[in-house]
Symmetry: C2
Subunit: 214 residues, 2 copies
């Protein structure tokens, strides 16, 4: 089946399968059934079989999936076999924490640049990587053919940086700035707005019986 | 209309309206139309009217919404008028960055505790708040009647802490640990898995014409 235009809901589950396969491979497990994948993910076995079948026939009926084979296929499908470079723009507390987190915890993704405008952080090292002035961003994006960028800068400063990223060839942005970014159709933006995530949870602190009394 | 059981998709849009109203109130704007709200959020005016009408009749046809009135209603609907306490569990780089971010940037939510098990961070101050040993968690949750907790601890340590939180009365958890948490039905968990968010974006770095060749 064609890979193109897979629904984002499927795409988002692939890294979950990838993580489980990585753990199994570390423990020398060769084969996993969709039922075991189900109990580890909380998705139904049928959902998992459907997700994977969207991209090809990777399993053997009655046996399951070969862990290494499926892991390698997933890396290809996600696109992590071709390019794994990213940059973190904005090296305040949040940007630095994310950069460090990816550098330490993510086996498939390589942070090739961290940037800021403040002299307070430029020159500092994060897990061996030196924070640079944002003027260096286009050169680094070009040198490493960066396609994915992480944005942790104030809302007011986001759009001009995004325009620059798009012009330099970036096609996907993980945006933590609490603002709507304007990008061309071929660029994919995923927003994580921590204020919204947290505030919306407070809805679940009011007891049901109180909810009609507003 | 009843407030109870509002779809989460609506709930998640309310903090976006709240942020826009706050900015307008700062600029002494009294009235806002659903059309202006639409241009600022990217949602259709119809969607916005529907979202708000779910909870009551807050606007005047042909005029719009009174900003202060709607802001206060939204705070009530979300539940931020009753309790606004939260705790951050796990004060590594990510937890500290989130704690600091909320303490500095979030007018409606108050971090009343940050916790860890490591002597390296216990006792340190984050924006005036001292990181405490996790043994202090139940006492702080009880004292401040905390209902919402933020979890930034390793996956393997998450479930026992979650059980403790639920027993102490927490009803909503923002979970950054990349693992599935087991909670009773009345507890709402929202997962943010940074690895998944980032890895899934790499799907959008492979050119369309290459996607059929896997």
């Amino acid at each position: 089946m064609p890979r193109r235009n897979a629904p984002f809901s499927i795409i988002r589950r692939l890294p979950i399968y990838l993580r489980i396969l990585d753990n199994l491979i570390k423990k020398d497990v060769d084969i996993i059934s969709s039922r075991t994948l189900s109990s580890r993910t909380g998705f139904t076995a049928e959902q998992i079989r459907k997700d994977l079948a969207y991209f090809g026939a990777f399993g053997t009926r009655g046996t399951g999936y070969n862990t290494v084979y499926l892991r390698d296929k997933l890396l290809k499908i996600i696109g992590l076999d071709k390019t794994n470079h990213t940059v973190v723009i904005g090296s305040g507390h949040l940007g630095t924490a994310f950069g460090r987190y990816i550098l330490m915890k993510n086996p498939y993704i390589r942070v090739v640049g961290m940037f800021d405008v403040s002299n307070e952080v430029i020159g500092k090292k994060v897990e061996g990587l030196t924070i640079e002035h944002i003027d260096r961003l286009p050169a680094v994006v070009e040198e490493y053919k960066v396609k994915v960028a992480i944005l942790t800068i104030p809302s007011a400063k986001a759009q001009p940086i995004v325009n620059q990223l798009v012009n330099s060839g970036v096609t996907a942005i993980l945006n933590f700035a609490p603002t709507k970014l304007n990008v061309p159709e071929h660029v994919h933006v995923h927003n994580i707005d921590l204020t919204i995530e947290l505030q919306s949870l407070f809805y679940y602190t009011v007891f049901e019986e109180e909810k009609d009394l507003i």
